[in-house]
Amino acid sequence: MIDVKCFGVAKEIVGDVNLILEYDKLAVSELRRHLESMYPEFQKINSYMIAVNQSYSEDEQFITNNDEVAIIPPVSGG
């Protein structure tokens, strides 16, 4: 099980602050495909990154069930 934190516009798209996925291991690229098929709205926003254990990830990186995962839509601090 992978618990994905959702912020900003991602929280609005998913409709919750967390999204629980029934996977034990998957690549970041697979997570993106999965998100975009469950929630096609993700293809309509400007961009989004996936953070794993509080760091920006690469597409080929693997996520396992103890990792902290978050969807990072375009940031707008400052």
Binding site: G8, N46, V75, G77, G78
Partner: protein, 139 residues
Amino acid sequence: MSIDVQIKAETLSIDEAYQKILNDQCGGICLFIGTVRNLNKGKIVTHLDFETYQPMALKEMAKIAEQAIERFQVKNIVIHHRSGHVGISDIAVIIGAASIHRKAAFEATQFAIDQLKLHVPIWKKEFLEEGGYWVGARP
């Protein structure tokens, strides 16, 4: 050398930020203060709401501060950012740098605010009279 990064739900203090970077060896202190405008693209803004991924945001803020110190040889850096409801003309962010001479402090401060806007997981919801939207999220 010191780094102080904070995300706070309460009003940010310019004096607190200044005191954090004050240093006997430094002859230049630069403080950038980002405040909330009442107009954006001709529309009236009523307030902002900042959401943060706090632990990661603090890590990214610390990374930026470390890079600024390394790149510009400044002594101290402070980055304080608001979370939650922020009203018009309230302070959203304070960035400060202290250096031996002024040029490095100016450069480090500009670098830090530019990097913060690119990399730190903080999201601004801007509220107009017709409702709120997440800034930069959609084309």
